[in-house]
């Protein structure tokens, strides 16, 4: 889409051959990078005084099932508080091995955002300290924002969970038991 903007050219010089594609559709500067060495590029983007993209706005993903190969794209939006410009970084991820490096060491805010991507798309983040589902529950089967997840899919009922790890006051439970026995229907 025409000439690259100065920032993208600058990145192309710094990482020759590592910028797979770039465009600036409607003024949104975008680069596509491979997932190998992702942390290195991101820490450069964060630390470099010229780009100064120290603010991680968002992490999300898009499923291009049957439209593109590889199937998934993890999308990062970065912002510079000082220079007031944005950059979108896209990382293609294949279906067979949906893993990318986690950005939690660079930004703490990546923690929940990556958990949400795992929850919705089933893309794993290696090195993430606590990769659990965040919006859905652990027993949920499948990843709903994948294009092959049917809209009207029903989930099986989940049996009641045990109160594992929760502090339970024994006295109060005894009291409940007492009450239950007291008011139990007589046979």
């Amino acid at each position: 889409m025409g000439e690259d903007s100065p920032n993208i050219q600058y990145l192309g010089e710094k990482f020759p051959g590592r910028i797979l594609a770039s465009h600036a559709f409607r003024g949104d500067e975008t680069i596509v990078i491979p997932r190998e060495g992702l942390q290195e590029i991101f820490s450069f983007l964060k630390e470099d005084p010229r780009l100064d993209l120290s603010f991680l706005t968002d992490i999300t993903a898009v499923d291009y099932l049957g439209k593109k190969e590889p199937r998934f794209e993890v999308v990062y939006h970065l912002y510079s508080l000082r220079a007031k410009h944005r950059l979108r970084v896209k990382v293609p991820v294949p279906e067979e091995d949906p893993v990318v490096d986690s950005l939690v060491p660079l930004w703490k805010g990546a923690n929940w955002l990556e958990r949400e991507v795992w929850d919705m798309f089933g893309i794993r983040f290696s090195g993430h300290p606590d990769l659990r589902r965040v919006l859905l529950y652990e027993e949920f089967q499948g990843h709903p924002l994948r294009k092959d997840y049917p809209v009207n899919q029903c989930q099986p009922l989940v049996p009641e969970r045990e109160l594992q790890g929760t502090f339970v006051d024994q006295r109060s439970s005894n009291k409940l038991l007492q009450l239950q026995q007291k008011f139990a229907p007589k046979r």
Binding site: H77, K84, W107, L135, L136
Partner: protein, 380 residues
């Protein structure tokens, strides 16, 4: 604590690890209001997404409407007429005021200042009535359309706003007298939920929480959308980054939003409120009934949806709680391929653990109150 607790307006659970009343660790469990916003958006046409965006942050639904409409317009590469842009600014600022009033009022009443809660809710009610006059609904308003707004403002709008603002300013002054030097209130708010500037940036926090730490970042100033660059307003910032600073930031922002509305009402030009493009905006009913082109355009938009070119855009607006971003991917055609909302409260909740660790259980209430988590937006 939770998921259903009187102080957690919105359903959320805190798994707390306690030592007496001191919080050693806190795990926040969200998602109780998850209803698959993104998945729903992929099933309907571009216009039909607008009612879903109402239900994101239902305390300030107009800002969501405007944000979504702007994002789609950016993807289409069109710009709305000047009058429409002013109307959008006015309505989003009214919405922002209701958002801040709700947040401050609820937070105050949870700390025992019920009077303040009632005063601020009364002020909010005045503004919501105006919103109702304009849009026909109180919260689920769906007022914007892609390429414009539903209809023009009523003729006596400016007078109604002036009257409501006069009353709201009195109520706010009363609340100021009740709270600003109130020992109990300050003790419960000050020095709690503290975040340093670096932590706030590392978490990607925005809105009053980031501004309370002293970072002057507001999307309206940083990347002015609509006509915010023609209006004169300031961004209040805090110094300590605690709950009290957040509260004060919000209260000061209400005044700034009122200034924006007053200026915009003076500057608003006459003219159409929607684009004159039959491929984007529905034609008038008269044309639909009396001309074949009108009927055809109407049919096309309703049945197939607006044809949006393939591409992707990210557009951020300043919501009540921070940067509300829409990342939209189009495949070409009448339906969105992917709609992602960057929810400010979801990101704020991820920093909650950091804010609350080491405090007392009772401190959860003001800290959580000042985040102003809205379940609809956090869980989508």
């Amino acid at each position: 604590m939770g998921p259903s607790h009187p102080a957690t307006h919105g359903t959320i659970k805190f798994d707390l690890k306690l030592e007496g009343e001191k919080i050693l660790d806190c795990d926040v469990v969200v998602g109780y209001l998850h209803r698959g916003f993104a998945k729903m958006c992929e099933q309907v046409t571009w216009t039909q997404v607008i009612p879903y965006t109402d239900r994101l942050n239902y305390v300030s639904p107009l800002i969501n409407n405007v944000g979504y409409a702007l994002a789609v317009e950016k993807l289409l590469g069109v710009e709305t007429p000047a009058r429409c842009q002013f109307i959008r600014v006015i309505m989003s600022e009214l919405s922002r005021i209701t958002d801040h009033l709700t947040c401050c009022g609820m937070a105050a009443s949870e700390l025992g200042a019920i009077t303040v809660g009632f005063y601020l809710i009364e002020a909010r009610e005045l503004l919501i009535r105006i919103i109702e006059v304009v849009t026909g609904a109180r919260l689920t308003i769906s007022y914007t359309r892609i390429g414009g707004v539903k209809h023009d403002l009523p003729p006596d709008f400016a007078e109604q706003v002036t009257k409501a603002f006069r009353k709201s300013r009195q109520l706010l002054a009363d609340c100021d007298r009740l709270l600003s030097r109130n020992r109990i209130f300050i003790d419960r708010m000050s020095g709690l939920g503290v975040l340093s500037q670096e932590t706030a940036i590392a978490y990607g926090l925005t809105g009053p929480i980031l501004r309370s730490t002293g970072v002057s970042y507001d999307v309206r100033k940083a990347e002015p959308y609509l006509v915010y660059d023609q209006l004169d307003f300031e961004i209040p910032i805090g110094t300590k980054g605690d709950n009290y600073d957040r509260f004060i930031c919000r209260m000061l922002e209400i005044e700034q939003s009122m200034r924006i509305v007053e200026q915009a009402l003076k500057k608003i030009p006459l003219g159409p409120v929607s684009l004159d493009d039959p491929h984007v905006v529905l034609p008038e009913k008269e044309k639909v009934y009396n001309s074949i082109e009108g009927l055809m355009h109407h049919f096309k938009i309703i049945m197939e949806g607006i044809q949006v070119p393939a591409g992707e855009v990210y557009l951020a607006v300043e919501g009540g709680n921070g940067e509300l971003g829409f990342y939209i991917v189009s495949n070409g055609g009448g339906k969105p391929y992917r709609v992602r909302v960057r929810p400010p409260c979801f990101i704020a909740m991820s920093a909650f653990r950091e804010m609350i660790k080491g405090s007392m259980i009772a401190d959860i209430i003001p800290t959580f109150g000042m985040i102003n988590m809205i379940g609809g937006e956090c869980d989508r």
